[in-house]
Subunit: 263 residues, 4 copies
């Protein structure tokens, strides 16, 4: 039931073959950005790709206390003051509510299907998708941010770099059209957020949803680490939620336990 | 480098041998308390042991928002609304600051060493240990609780059950003496806390430090689960720390990047 | 963005209110089985429910090396020899491929919908559901086990206890009918497995899918702990997969780095 | 019990201050290597530091199946086929047996203390440290590798880059002397391994033990991700240890349960 196969690496005495390159060469000739990309994607990034890759990887470096990941990691470190479990535990908070470009990616996949199947433009596909979401009462992913109300500068910068480097294609165009259609239909002035922008750029670069989530995890890691180290040095033991209220039953007696307890 | 050995269980078609008993028999004839004990300790609990075991396992069932484990789990669930990662992440907060009877256990080990090596009474060993900790400026484990200021009723109940069942022996006596000596010496009125009481009772039952931590993890699990399920149903996405302040540098320009940025 | 609410517990100086009962009473009068149930379900188990609850909680106590959870935990402990991270990491392997009664639960929900909407019997609903899965080429959950080929005794025992205690109702009947229809249609002789049986019994007791997954996590925990403690004492450092093969590219030169490397 | 403070970042509407720089500037002007360093260290890397930083971050990019982290992550993904829990779970395997430059760092700290306190040379301090370890029967950290028997090319490359860039100082010298003394004393031909080399270089750059562990975690992440994605796509469900043996008791009857079971 095991018998594993991998194309990531092969390790022997004195040699590591990482995706077809010597790890020694990677160590001395590539940046970590390139090495990380190679490890995950199985190829080196193209020249323009490398620049936007750095922008993507830097975009989530830290979002401070306004992040469930950091908050979770701090509480873990406060109970269990060690680096590794707190950082790993913080990563566990990456999911459908945060660090989640995959949902916007799915929307782009749906739009692409419509364009291909019915010969639609990005603008036409956008109308149909927005329709579909609004009539189903579903929240559209990739728009709005609890902190960055009017615009999410990280998204704007990613689009700017993508355009400047000639990377922006149907992904960026489609997401922009989705945003335009959504704004027109709802009147809401929610910005394109970083998850949406990551997904759009990923589409244009041929990255998969999984791969862009992976990059988001790498992006989030250093901030998590920074916060955990801080908590280890200056934090307080036994931190806990202080703004909680109890909404359950008051204390009652346990129902009769057969004359003096069940034992 | 693998080739594992185990005495926990053996699994074949139609049969699971759990520590020398058929899992079928365990399912139909034992309580979970007994089954869990068997899995970890490799033997069935003795009659009196079973009662105190239930008391130990129930003692940490939940400590609400006043627990780093629950707090961490809630934040994880808020970012990643799934049961398993949030519960596992909450467990990661068990460490030297919480759910940690092992530190009191170490103190009891030291006291036992002194008693054996120098023929001391529990009271005499207590004096020496308290001395040792106070003169080294170290906090003594097992005393005091941020919420239960005057007494920790969970500790008191554990000692009461242990005495009533004839389980209390040198472990309970030694820890009580440590507490007496500590109180006399410092004048502080800190109660014996649940971690300390667990360790004392564990000593008298022949459980190891590791085993009592294991029981504490089992004890903590249901409350964690209850909170995570609640967060999944009634929680809010993207919860985060709201009482944080920034103490770092204000924003400066990046130092000159060699005429227009490194790229 | 926080402001938590809970009905699990309220903690004050000298008192823990757990779901409307004093934790002190719980410690001295309830078994852990009851205490854990109370913490998660918010009520005490009924008399018959308590018996099947113990059977459910004991059913997954350990499945030895034939478990992804245990395997994962062992490798973690081999790299990081500590109890807490290895146990928590092992729990992370609970998901759609293992410890996952939720999929069978969904099937039972679908069958119930059919019965209610169209006045079908369990047998009729079973035919339609099996049809639906087979024609969609989907694997039916709750049937078959890689080790327990002909029958899964844990499932059989759970059904036996449920029938004996008068708990078996439409859930058990529906799942039995699903199994009958599946076997008749496919000719495959796969047994009802423990995940399927757990789901069926849960249905009859009014437990939710989430709650039965929670119980499965509690069930799995002691075995995980037993294995991790064993690995900590008798294991080997740096265990790793030994039956892996590399299927990727051989080592090539890095593409020209502009005369002497990018730096 | 909370009231957090941080100097990592401050987040407001439209602005993220990361360690005193605008995240927008970081996204457009820095590599991820620099951004990650800034997040953790609170300052930008110096010019030579950036080069060795990339070498450090690339050194553990992947070690394939010969890694407890990767092995653990694969088993988790096989039970729970999701990216985030498997990757986080893999990280939990970083500990005292792997990805652990901290132990070599401690040795360097001890040697530094000796040099400062007694005016010793690196060679003299090395003799004393090796003495201390050997006479206590302790394994010296930083030497030897189960796969890279004669030399660990990653360590060699790190030292080469450090020397070439003028970074090598007392840390590299001291660790080299420790190795020389160890080899002379024991006759064993174990190479300096990557953990040892990381620690030595970290010392010369003024990085703390914690910071170099943090960098090692970042280094390890992309390979983990690559393996997990592979397992998600081409893996098998329910993988488990296949080379395990049971060494416990054969199945016995449960001891008499008071005439027909305890209930």
């Amino acid at each position: 039931m095991s018998a594993f196969e991998t194309s990531v690496s092969e390790v022997g005495d004195g040699v590591v073959n990482l995706r077809g390159y010597s790890l020694g060469d990677v160590m001395t000739s590539l940046s970590y950005t390139e090495g990380a990309f190679l490890s995950i994607f199985g190829r080196l990034p193209a020249t323009g790709e490398r620049v936007i890759l750095d922008a993507v990887l830097n975009s989530l470096l830290d979002h401070g206390f306004v992040a469930s990941t950091v908050s979770a990691a701090r509480f873990i470190a406060s109970g269990n003051p060690q680096l590794v479990p707190a950082v790993a535990g913080g990563l566990l908070a990456c999911g459908s509510n945060t660090v989640s470009p995959q949902h916007s990616f799915e929307v782009l996949d749906q739009a692409e299907e419509l364009r291909v199947a019915h010969g639609l433009t990005c603008a036409e596909a956008a109308e149909q998708i927005v329709d579909r979401y609004l009539s189903a009462g579903r929240r559209m992913p990739g728009f709005g941010h609890p902190t960055h109300k009017k615009s999410d500068f990280r998204a704007d910068l990613l689009f700017a770099v993508a355009r400047e480097r000639g990377i922006a294609g149907p992904g960026v165009e489609q997401f922009t059209e989705l945003h335009r259609a959504f704004t027109a239909r709802t009147g809401k002035r929610l910005p394109i957020n970083i998850d949406g922008a990551m997904a759009a750029v990923a589409k244009d670069l041929g990255w998969s949803a999984e791969q862009v989530v992976a990059l988001a995890m790498i992006s989030v890691l250093p901030g998590l680490i920074g916060h955990v180290i801080e908590e280890l040095h200056n934090g307080k033991p036994l931190r806990h939620i202080t703004d909680g209220t109890y909404t359950g039953e008051p204390i009652r007696s346990l129902p009769g336990r057969n004359g003096g307890g069940k034992r």
